[in-house]
Structure formats: structure tokens, C-alpha cells
Amino acid sequence: MKTVSLTIDGKAIKAPEGQKVLWAALDNGIYIPNLCAIRKASEPYAGCRLCFVEIEGRNGPVTSCTEPVAEGMVVNTQGPRSRRLARTALELLLASHPVDCAHCAKNRSCELQKLCSLLGVKLNTRRFRKLVHNLPIDSSCPNFTYNPNKCVLCSRCVWTCRERYGVGVLGFAHRGFDRVVTTFEDKPIAESGCRVCDECIEVCPVGALVFKDGRKGTPGCAEVKSKTATS
């Protein structure tokens, strides 16, 4: 495969042509905030709005999960403008997240916590108003619970579930602020054909989908477990 040379944060990097900047950076030990990127997915979801970087010659910050590498490209992952956007996106997520880490199964392996320390944002940030949902928690499956109030709508579980079984048990419903990951007709997951493969729990970056026995999912799950990892 053809490779291109580029620079990320001053580091010279070679990456396969067509690869997105986000993966090129991650593969070279440079972390860019991200929640919704799925390496195997054919199209970037581009929903979390955390992975902004600045690229020389561009007007404004771009999302690195959608931006293909290019020969001679110069990328800055820590520019003030991209960092400002990432912080705002994170603070928006936190403002609509019931932050209760002490009682959360995801404590210490939660991506939100990691992003907070990286971006210098307080978990209980007060910049925005607290606007949380109060939806019922689904404990219908024997080994995991789903708390939609903690979901950041990254789409990873939905993608994973659909990828594995064709027709997904999990999907999105409603629009705007009410958008939610749920099952067909809002039935409990256990009654919706869930085969308890546990993969969605593995990929959930936050405490929305967690094992009942306290087992941790895969931390830093940007890779999303995949049998045949491609670019």
C-alpha cells in the first residue's frame, strides 16, 4: 500500500494513503481526544466533535477522524482553537451527564475522566447548565445494565451490535436532545433478541453499559475490538 509522509506535533510520520489523521496519530503514540471513532467502520461517524486538530493551510480546525492524511501535511493536535472546541464538546457532554464517579462501575476506566484530565476540564464543570435525562435504567440482561442517562451517544454499541448480527438490537431513537440509544419499541434489552455477546459493554466508553459483576470493559476502546483490523 502507498504511504504518505506527514508531520503530527512535530513528529515525522508515515501513514497508509487514505488513512484518517486520527488513526495515524494514535498508531504513532499521539493521542487525540475521541469518543465516536471506530476503526473498522466504513464511514466515520463524526458525532462526538472531540477529535479536532489544526492543519497548516486550513482555515479552521478539522475533525481528525474524517480527514485523510496527505503528503506533507502538518498537523497540530494541541492548537488553541481545536482544543477550545474539544473542551466545549466535552463540557457539553459533562453538563448532560450524571457525574457520580464514586458510585459508577466505570470509575477509573471511563473515557470522560481520561478526557477531563487531558483537556484540563473539571468533571463537575459549571460553565453550562446541568441538563440531564431521567430515563429508566435497564437491568433486564443477566450480566449487564444499561443506563441511558450516562450515554454520550457515541454510537459504538449500536455499530458493534449491528456489525455482528446484521440487524441490531440497539439503535437510535428520537431527535435532538431526546436522542437515545434504545431497542425496538423501547423494550427491555433482554426481550429484544440480545444474545449477550457482551461486545457493546466492551466498547462503551462511559458508564452507560456496564457489567453487573464489576468487570471492566476494554479501556481506551478507540480501537473497538475487531477481528480484522484494517486501516
Partner: protein, 638 residues
């Protein structure tokens, strides 16, 4: 696609046109009077169908042979229902504000009698001695009709009338041209997309045409989700063939075999008219296989969208056409390289496509001679709000807001003062008086923080609160956000919540700073245009009307006396007429009582601020007023 048998195309079309022309002449220059009723959706909601019924009923009582025609929207929505009468030997006259009774009188007095009824006339379409010409109205000094040319003048359900007016001639010409030459012609015309962003149409076509692959698609975007905009609907309902012809030329140019008209499901009449038009075009060999005997084949299917605002965004629209949830995705890839089913797809707005036939017919130079340096042609606006003549208007790019609002629109009703104009709907901006003399085009609007958008133009006067206006539009966008991306889903919600607090008097000055920062981030950081343009109403009102925001926050005062929580109703004792009780009985919560001097007093604790008393108080007393902040109400004595 090779150009074959030019003469064949030309002569095939000539036959079609001859037939159409002779039918038109028979109709228009014949001895029968013609009564046209403007019955597009806007006319119908004003009662056009009842008028049509009355006309037919009254005619059925007489013996006369009269041609009755349903035509589309003439743009003069303020004067709907409209009736146009052409009586042989007399000028063609447009009558406005027609009720069924007036329609009967017109039939009796004018069709059956000789009274041309000037009292109902808006004006005549030709110079004459009896009725002043409609073109003497001040609006026609500024208006220039390209898209609205046929609208309200022809029967949209009769293809021959469109053809008689020059329709499909551009198609016949185009089919004898090389696609590259058509692109060149469109490029020279300077045509930019009317779907909002003003992207070069030629460039879009060129990219799609030169993208690899045999299968290409053309989509006409008639989603028109912007509340208050209805020009695309009016064009489809009143002159559907102009859009179809534009689609045909575009499809021929890019090499598309299949096309779709994506119409919102709330536009049943537009869908119906489009279907009839498609059928008639196909019947004449202007659509379908081997069009006009050429090797070019193209079909068009109407598709009814779900009506979500975001489905007007091109990537969401395509997803919805593919049967998937109507969610936007990141661009690039742009549809022109990878669109419907992953194939190169041109998606153009209704108006963009409808400009194409006149451009081909009259030449690029003609089109480029209208408008400003970078925005060619005309702009169509739907005037609404606090303006006398609501309705559609078409003016050259570069016309000023003052000319549109005051000359075309007839100014602000009831002698109120102009305050602002919101252009481009929820994605657009709110411009103050100082912008009135700015020639408007794609670029000038962008510079001042607004955008052409779909062309909605809402005029606001001194009684409109700018904070409330921003809140209103943001409530719309946050409701219509698809929720896919964080910035828009949560950002618009947070902005809305701050604006709600301002209008309720709960805001803090520091919120203003947070709001501005967040608005900037949502503008840059959202995935699609819905999120990216959603802060425009907030940013422009904050920029041009900062004092109003400050008044709401620091003084809990709404200067326009509009925000419910920040006002109180008060009866001025010196103005209250003691012998009058008009307000007392109208108050549904019995908050008004008479004091010892029989002066009426509102019990603020009971008052629900419905405003009934203000309306009830007779004009000559005018004793009920609104006060803001509410604590300005003097303490009740005794």
C-alpha cells in the same frame, strides 16, 4: 452522449410548440372571457377554492361560455384570494381580496354586464384607459420576474400553456449542445445555488460530470423546511414545468438517467401538480426514453420526505432517499462525487433548477447582466411579519432591504417603527436599521452575519423583542437538531436554556459571555449546516441589539414589552374612565376590581398577563398599559 440529428430534435419540438401555440391563441385571443383564480396553497388558505366555486356556480346560471382556470400564486399573498379576468376587448385585470360574494358580483357585473368593477381591482396587466396598470405600484420599480414570470399567469396543469410561453425550448436547444458547452454557459451566467449556500452551479455540475462512473443521479431539493418560506412550494405548484425542464437540462449535462424531486410530505398540492406535470411531459416525449427523439433518456420520480428540517441538508436528504434515517454525514465526500447509492449526484434547489431554462433560452450574458458582481440574477423572498404586503417577491440581487421592505412590502403596518429584519429563517440573521441600505446578495449578507438561506424575510417592529426572537428561532433549531453530533444536540439546547432564562429575567451577565463563546463553538464545531448556522440569530441579535440583552439581564426589563415574565399590566388611574367597566368583565381570572373612586385596579397577584383588558379598554381611554419590569407598577393605594 452524442448529439444526434439536431434537425430531428428541432422539428419534433417545433411540432409540439405549434400545437401548444395554437391552443394558447385559441384560448387567449379567442372570444371567450377568461377567469383565472389564483389557487395555490396560499390562495386556498385564504379561500380561493370557495371563490372558484362561487364563480362556477354564478356562471352556471347564465348562458355565457367562459373559460375558468386555476392558476398558481402571483406573489401578492396579502391580497388573496386573487382573480384575474380577461374579457375580449378589455384589459386584463387583477382583482384582489375577493370573497365568494365579490366573485359573484364580478361575474354578474363584468362578465355578464359591462362594469369592469375598478373598486376591486389591484391593477391591469396592460396599459389602458380604464384601470391603472398594476405595474404602477411602487413594488414593480424594483421587482424583476424570472422565476415568477409565469406564476399566476398559466394553468400549471396544462403543459401547453408552459410551452406556449417559451417552455421546453431551452431543452430542445440544450439537446443540440455539447454538455461541456452547457456547463460553460451556466458558468458564464454566474448562477449560484439558491438552496442557501450559494455554491456555483456550473462547478457542481462539472465535478459530477467528470466523476468516474456510468450511473449518476440528479435530485431536486424541494424540502423547504424553513418555517415561513414557501417559494419552492409556490414554484412547484404554479409552474412545475420550469423545474422539470431545468432538471432535464441538468441531467443531460451531467449524464444522469434518473432523477428525484424530494418534496416534503406537507406539500400535497405541490406533489400533485408535479405528478401531473411529469405525466404530461412524458406524454409529449419530453421526459422518459429518447427525449425529443434524441439518445437522451431521463425519468423523474417525486419522493415525499418526512418533513424534518435536517432532511433538507443534502447528505441527510440522500440518506432519507436511500431509506435510511435522515441523518447528515461528514463531507467530503460531497454528493457530486459520491451521493445517492454512492454514485455521483447533483443536488440542486428548486429555484436553482428553474433558472436554468431561461438562462439557456436567453443566454448567459442576459442573466449575468442582472444582479451584483458576484451574485447574478434575482432573489426570491417570502415577505412576512410586520409588513403591509406579505407574499412573494423577486428582485435583482443587489436590491436594498429598504427597497424590498418599504417599496415592495409597503412598509410597516399601523405606523409602527421598523426594528429589524430576520433573513434566511432559523439559519439566518437579524439585521438592524443600519443594514437597510445595504445592497443584498450572497456575500453582503454573509458579511453581516446573516445568510440568504431559503429566502424567508420576517420584518420585525418595535413591539418585537430581539431576545425573544433569538429564543424562538433557537427553539426551532434545537427541536430540529437530529442529535447526532454533540455541538448541535447539546450546544443548541444549552443556548436555548440561557435565552429562556434571559426572557424570564433569570439571566446573569456572565451568561452573555458563555453564550457568545458557545455560539462560536457550535458554529465552527457542528457536523452539518443545521448546527453551524443555528447560532446566527443569537450572534446577530447579540451584535446589533446588545442593549436589549443587557436590559433583560441587568434590569429584568423587556424594552419591547413582549417577554411575559418581565411585564405587568397596569391601569393608569388618570386615564381610566370611571363610568366604564369594559375591562372588568373580560378578565377571565377576575383580577380587575373597582376601587372607591371607581378607578379600575389590577390585582397583580391574580393577573395572568393575558392582555385581554388592554384590548378591551376602549381606544379613546387607552388606560391599560404594559410596564417592564413588573415592579414599576405603583403600589396600590387604599
Amino acid at each position: 452522449m452524442t448529439v444526434i440529428a439536431s434537425q430531428d430534435i428541432a422539428s419534433t419540438f417545433q411540432n409540439i410548440r405549434d400545437h401548444a401555440l395554437s391552443r394558447w391563441q385559441e384560448l387567449w385571443d379567442g372570444s371567450k372571457p377568461i377567469i383565472m383564480v389564483s389557487a395555490a396553497t396560499c390562495g386556498r388558505s385564504a379561500g380561493a377554492l370557495e371563490v372558484l366555486e362561487a364563480v362556477k356556480d354564478e356562471l352556471s346560471r347564465g348562458q355565457q361560455d367562459v373559460q375558468v382556470m386555476e392558476v398558481g400564486c402571483m406573489g401578492h399573498c396579502y391580497a388573496e384570494p386573487l382573480v384575474i379576468i380577461k374579457k375580449p376587448g378589455n384589459p386584463t385585470v387583477v382583482y384582489g381580496y375577493i370573497t365568494p360574494e365579490k366573485a359573484r358580483r364580478l361575474v354578474k357585473d363584468y362578465i355578464q354586464g359591462e362594469d369592469i368593477s375598478p373598486e376591486f381591482a389591484l391593477g391591469a396587466l396592460e396599459e389602458n384607459e380604464l384601470i391603472p396598470s398594476i405595474y404602477d405600484l411602487p413594488r414593480f420599480k424594483h421587482e424583476k420576474y424570472i422565476l415568477l414570470e409565469n406564476i399566476g399567469r398559466i394553468d400549471p396543469e396544462d403543459i401547453d400553456q408552459y410551452i406556449a410561453k417559451g417552455g421546453y425550448e431551452a431543452l430542445a436547444n440544450a439537446l443540440q449542445m455539447q454538455p461541456e458547452d452547457i456547463i460553460e454557459e451556466v458558468r458564464k451566467s454566474g448562477l449560484r445555488g439558491r438552496g442557501g449556500a450559494g455554491f456555483s452551479t456550473a462547478q457542481k455540475w462539472e465535478v459530477c460530470r467528470s466523476s468516474p462512473g456510468k450511473i449518476k443521479y440528479l435530485i431536486c431539493n424541494a424540502d423547504e423546511g424553513d418555517p415561513g418560506a414557501f417559494m419552492d412550494r409556490a414554484i412547484l405548484e404554479s409552474d412545475p414545468h420550469s423545474v422539470i425542464e431545468g432538471m432535464l437540462i441538468a441531467a443531460y449535462t451531467i449524464g444522469a438517467r434518473h432523477g428525484y424531486i424530494y418534496v416534503r410530505a406537507e406539500y400535497p398540492l405541490a406533489v400533485h401538480r408535479a405528478e401531473i406535470a411529469l405525466e404530461q411531459a412524458e406524454g409529449l416525449g419530453l421526459l422518459g426514453k429518447n427525449i425529443l427523439g434524441s439518445s437522451f433518456s431521463f425519468d423523474i420520480k417525486p419522493f415525499q420526505g418526512s418533513g424534518a428540517f435536517v432532511c433538507g441538508e443534502e447528505t441527510a436528504l440522500i440518506a432519507s432517499l436511500e431509506g435510511k434515517p435522515g441523518l447528515p454525514h461528514h463531507r467530503p465526500p460531497f454528493p457530486a462525487t459520491s451521493g445517492l447509492n454512492g454514485k455521483p449526484t447533483v443536488i440542486n434547489n428548486v429555484k436553482t433548477l428553474a433558472y436554468v431554462p431561461p438562462i439557456i433560452r436567453n443566454g448567459a450574458d442576459w442573466f449575468a447582466s442582472i444582479g451584483t458582481e458576484k451574485s447574478k440574477g434575482t432573489a426570491v423572498f417570502a415577505l412576512a411579519g410586520k409588513v403591509v404586503n406579505t407574499g412573494l417577491t423577486e428582485v435583482p440581487m443587489g436590491t436594498t432591504l429598504r427597497q424590498i421592505i418599504f417599496d415592495v412590502g409597503g412598509g410597516i403596518p399601523k405606523g409602527r417603527r421598523f426594528k429589524a429584519v430576520q433573513i434566511g429563517g432559523p439559519s439566518g440573521g437579524c439585521l438592524p436599521e443600519s443594514a437597510l441600505d445595504m445592497p443584498i446578495d450572497f456575500d453582503s449578507l454573509k458579511e453581516v452575519g446573516a445568510m440568504m438561506g431559503s429566502g424567508g424575510m420576517v420584518v420585525l417592529d418595535e413591539d418585537d423583542c430581539m431576545v425573544e426572537v433569538a429564543r424562538y428561532f433557537l427553539e426551532f433549531t434545537q427541536r430540529e437538531s437530529c442529535g447526532k453530533c454533540t455541538m448541535c444536540r447539546l450546544g443548541t439546547r444549552q443556548m436555548l436554556s440561557m435565552l429562556e432564562d434571559f426572557t424570564c429575567g433569570r439571566g446573569q451577565m456572565q451568561d452573555l459571555e458563555t453564550l457568545k463563546e458557545l455560539a462560536e463553538d457550535v458554529r465552527i464545531g457542528s457536523l452539518c449546516g443545521l448546527g453551524r448556522t443555528s447560532p446566527n440569530p443569537v450572534l446577530t441579535t447579540m451584535r446589533y441589539f446588545r442593549d436589549e440583552y443587557k436590559a433583560h439581564i441587568e434590569e429584568k426589563r423587556c424594552p419591547a414589552l413582549m417577554c411575559h415574565d418581565l411585564i405587568a399590566y397596569y391601569i393608569l388611574p388618570e386615564k381610566c374612565e370611571r363610568s366604564c367597566d369594559a375591562c372588568v368583565g373580560t378578565c377571565t381570572v377576575e383580577a380587575i376590581s373597582s376601587n372607591k373612586q371607581r378607578v379600575k385596579v389590577i390585582d397583580q397577584a391574580k393577573c395572568v398577563k393575558c392582555g385581554t383588558c388592554l384590548t378591551a379598554c376602549p381606544l379613546q381611554y387607552n388606560a391599560v398599559i404594559k410596564l417592564s419590569p413588573p415592579d414599576k407598577v405603583p403600589a396600590a393605594k387604599g
